[in-house]
């Protein structure tokens, strides 16, 4: 069973509330959900919509097509009715939207009137709309009822919304010829998680106790998450005066011993580049989360893109190692965030988590998170010897890290080239040795890098190559292509730098097609730079929207 619901309207009309309640409703009813948001950079008005995709199988992308359209305004009808399937339905407020023709897919309900009557506020259209949906789909109303009660702290308001939902539910139930049904299936321990929360939760579990950031979409999600949990988990979240300050505060906090991170988007990261280089030089661990959005410059603030890969890998003046990971989905984002903290500490380097608006804002159903087997390693020297040197040259290139404030020793570091102790130097022989020491660590990181996932037939004619948040969409497209007997596979990268090359070498002579959310095929360039392997063909998207499986299937067939 699969069902695609789209809820559309103006910013501020409560689209997000409806979609989030319905997503939870389906989760608790035993279904898999994927919920994706398309919104504009404004607070009120404009056209926003959310797709809630429901399935009995695990899914991790949205897709083209609509089975149920919930239109909170007329524009939504005009923009989306074409996409609604012939056996689909268009739910609209029958008292507010009048210009409706006799397309049999229309299904009106007095959503706002119900809200006002039952809940004494217009804002409760959310609950009446959810009610209609649950009724229509033959869902278990008691689940919705519980959700409503949880949603509102004030029990009275909760009660009113339940009434409003119930009235909608009764209307929904009247349409008993609707071909889709989502009755209660099973209790389960699955989780519904968005990318922003996954990174945020990952950071908390990793022991991040300081975040400094300057608000910037979509990076702000992680800041909000940590701020929301700051009291319970003793996290200091400080809004910096600018991004430069954010990264430098984080380096100060990390130097003094706290796992620390910044969160931003490409434009904010652009301002942190000098600080990144400082982290490299002073060997101060730090974690940088970058939620990509379309550029250049301010670009499209609320849209998605994979346009910053090469920028991030090459950012910073001078040469120093780093770890860059581009999580493939929310679950991966959780684990990779923890890994980013661990590697930052292990190698005393900056770790970069490269997500995007699509991953950050989408909710996906996962089986669970394995909290029991998480390792947190700080690699901090608690009893350093008296002759402690912060930048001691060792075989591995990693110097023992002690914290300032440790009795009897001094911890010294410098943005200038320095000696082993950390003091500024102009000795060019020491310079050379320190360069080599720092770069050695870059070689070691390779041992911790995860090879890409391969998914597909065992002897493929064509391999799609992807990275980051496109995983769900490409994987699903490959599944479908295989069903149609295409001999195809997917090689999907999550850790991107240092670039894992073993799997690539294995498929070196295959026909490779890179699928990327940018206009220049950056990953293909990275692969050629690192391995010499030429990914000759590309499927690129750069209009600000994420890939859908249907779209990739079409593109692959076109060039097959």
């Amino acid at each position: 069973m699969e069902l695609k619901i789209v809820i559309g309207g103006e910013a501020g009309q409560g689209i997000q509330t409806i979609s989030s309640i319905m997503s939870r409703f389906f989760l608790r009813s035993g279904y898999y959900v994927f919920t994706e948001q398309s919104y504009q950079s404004r607070i009120r008005g404009g056209h926003n919509f959310t797709q809630v995709r429901v399935s009995t199988e695990s899914i991790s992308s949205s897709d083209d097509g609509i089975d149920i359209l919930v239109a909170l305004n007329e524009e939504t009808i005009n923009l989306h009715r074409e996409e609604v399937s012939s056996n689909g339905i268009i739910i609209y407020d029958s008292e507010l939207i009048k210009s409706v023709d006799n397309d049999k897919r229309f299904f009106g309900a007095p959503l706002q009137r119900i809200a006002i009557e039952k809940a004494k506020t217009r804002l409760a259209v959310n609950s009446s709309a959810c009610g209609v949906l649950v009724g229509l789909l033959d869902g278990d109303f008691s689940i919705l009822e519980t959700l409503m009660r949880e949603q509102f702290k004030d029990p009275e308001i909760g009660e009113r919304n339940v009434l409003s939902a119930r009235a909608g539910y009764e209307i929904g139930k009247t349409k008993n010829d609707f071909p889709f049904r989502t009755p209660f299936l099973s209790n389960n321990s699955r989780l519904l998680i968005d990318g922003g929360s996954a990174v945020g939760f990952g950071a908390i579990v990793a022991g991040c106790r300081f975040l400094s950031a300057y608000p910037m979409t979509p990076g702000t999600a992680v800041m909000n998450y940590l701020a929301g949990h700051s009291k319970r988990y003793n996290i200091v979240v400080e809004q910096a005066e600018d991004e430069i300050s954010a990264i430098n505060m984080v380096l100060g906090a990390s130097f003094a011993g706290v796992r620390s991170m910044v969160t931003t988007s490409g434009g904010g990261f652009a301002l942190m580049v000098e600080g990144l280089s400082l982290a490299g030089m002073t060997e101060t661990p730090c974690v940088i989360h970058i939620g990509q959005r379309p550029g250049p410059a301010t670009g499209l603030p609320t849209r998605t893109e994979q346009g910053e890969l090469l920028f991030v890998i090459n950012a910073g003046h001078g040469e120093f190692p780093r770890y860059v990971t581009a999580p493939r989905d929310a679950q991966d984002a959780f684990y990779k965030t923890i890994k980013a903290f661990n590697l930052a500490d292990k190698y005393q380097i900056p770790s970069i988590i490269l997500t995007d608006q699509f991953l950050i804002d989408s909710m996906v159903t996962i089986e669970g998170l394995d909290l029991d087997n998480i390792k947190i390693e700080r690699y901090i020297e608690n009893n350093p010897s008296k002759d402690y040197k912060r930048h001691l040259i060792t075989d591995s290139g990693i110097s023992p890290r002690a914290l300032p404030g440790t009795e009897g020793i001094l911890v010294i570091t410098d943005s200038d080239e320095h000696d082993e102790e950390g003091h500024i130097t102009e000795d060019l022989e020491i310079r050379k040795r320190l360069v080599e020491k720092r770069l050695k660590k870059g070689e070691l990181i390779k041992e911790d890098i995860e090879e890409p996932i391969y998914f597909g037939v065992s002897n493929p004619d064509v391999i799609l190559v992807g990275w980051g948040s496109t995983y769900g969409a490409i994987k699903e497209s490959v599944k479908r292509l295989i069903e149609e007997d295409f001999k195809v596979g997917l090689l999907h990268f999550s850790d991107v730098y240092p670039l894992p090359y073993r799997q690539l070498e294995k498929y070196r002579d295959k026909r490779l097609i890179s699928v990327e959310g940018n206009a220049t095929g950056q990953f293909a360039l990275l692969v050629r730079r690192e391995t010499g392997i030429d990914i000759g063909e590309k499927i690129l998207k750069y209009n600000g929207r994420p890939f859908t499986p249907s779209e990739i299937v079409k593109e692959v067939k076109k060039i097959w």
Partner: protein, 284 residues
């Protein structure tokens, strides 16, 4: 009081002979010694410039960071471990020029760090361009027609921002300077100490003599808690330049206001063995 020599190390200052920085360095050791601050409890943070090299020349923990960004690093470090005594030490170009935004917003934050600015009214390390505090009309290789913008007045701006401690001193008055350093360090909150410092190589206008003739110590009955009269005092620059604690107030520090720091320094908060069931519930 510990012996000031415990702060000596084997680094040789890369400053010009006769530079005002030497006196500031000596006073720093003296002040720390008089306050009995053990080197391993002290974290100096500096930016880039001649002044910013100072902390290399005595024993302390040190994060010598980027030009203009030392205050941010200092604030981060202090939040992470508020048991450290954290002092940011740099030049006027560093702190008031490149670092201007951090200067103004951290005065607002009132984190308990100290900011010592060697104000030589010039960019020393980069060979003598005008700094934000250079006097009007000063000619340099870049300001060939002389400086066109009136000098940045750090004291007046800090008072406008309601800084909790604002003082000025002079490298040529070590006794005063040591006293100011000690007051700044013992003050609870963000403390700005602007230190007039002759640059013998590039600043031919504001020489030792120039300062010597102009600076005067504030009267004993000067009241630094009155913001308006402090502002008036701050505008005095020219024939007479006041040194001393110009403005003082007692607003709460950033750290005091953070519930997260109530039970001890942040870097000691346990990060393993935590129950996350409440978070897991949020995903259901």
């Amino acid at each position: 009081m510990v012996d000031a020599r415990i702060y000596d190390n084997d680094q040789v200052p890369a400053w010009c002979p006769g530079c005002g920085n030497f006196s500031i360095l000596r006073c720093m050791k003296q002040a720390l010694a008089e306050l009995d601050i053990s080197p391993d409890r002290l974290l100096m943070v500096s930016g880039i410039g001649q002044a910013a090299k100072a902390p290399h020349y005595f024993r302390c923990n040190l994060f010598n960071g980027l030009h203009g960004r030392d205050i941010s690093v200092a604030v981060g470090a202090k939040i992470a471990n508020h048991n450290l005594i954290v002092i940011a030490e740099s030049g006027d170009g560093n702190t008031y020029g490149e670092g201007g935004n951090h200067f103004i917003h951290n005065i607002r934050r009132n984190v308990n760090i100290k900011v010592f600015v060697h104000n030589n009214q010039i960019y020393g390390l980069t060979k003598g361009q005008a700094s934000p505090t250079s006097d009007l009309g000063m000619k340099t290789r870049v300001q060939v027609d002389g400086v066109l913008s009136p000098p940045f007045n750090p004291v007046a701006v800090a008072i406008a921002l309601n800084a909790s401690f604002v003082a000025r001193s002079f490298s040529g008055d070590p006794e005063h300077l040591v006293a100011m350093m000690k007051s700044a360090i013992t003050h609870k909150g963000f403390a700005l100490l602007d230190i007039l410092q002759p640059c013998v190589t590039f600043n031919r206008v504001n020489t030792f003599q120039w300062y010597k003739e102009r600076v005067y110590r504030l009267d004993d009955n000067y009241d630094p808690t009155d913001r308006i009269s402090a502002f008036k005092k701050a505008l005095e620059w020219g024939d007479r330049i006041p040194i001393g604690i110009i403005y003082l107030n007692n607003r709460p520090t950033y750290e005091e206001q953070l519930p997260q720091l109530k039970d001890g320094p942040l870097f000691k908060v346990p990060i393993t063995g935590i129950d996350y069931s409440d978070i897991l519930k949020e995903f259901k």
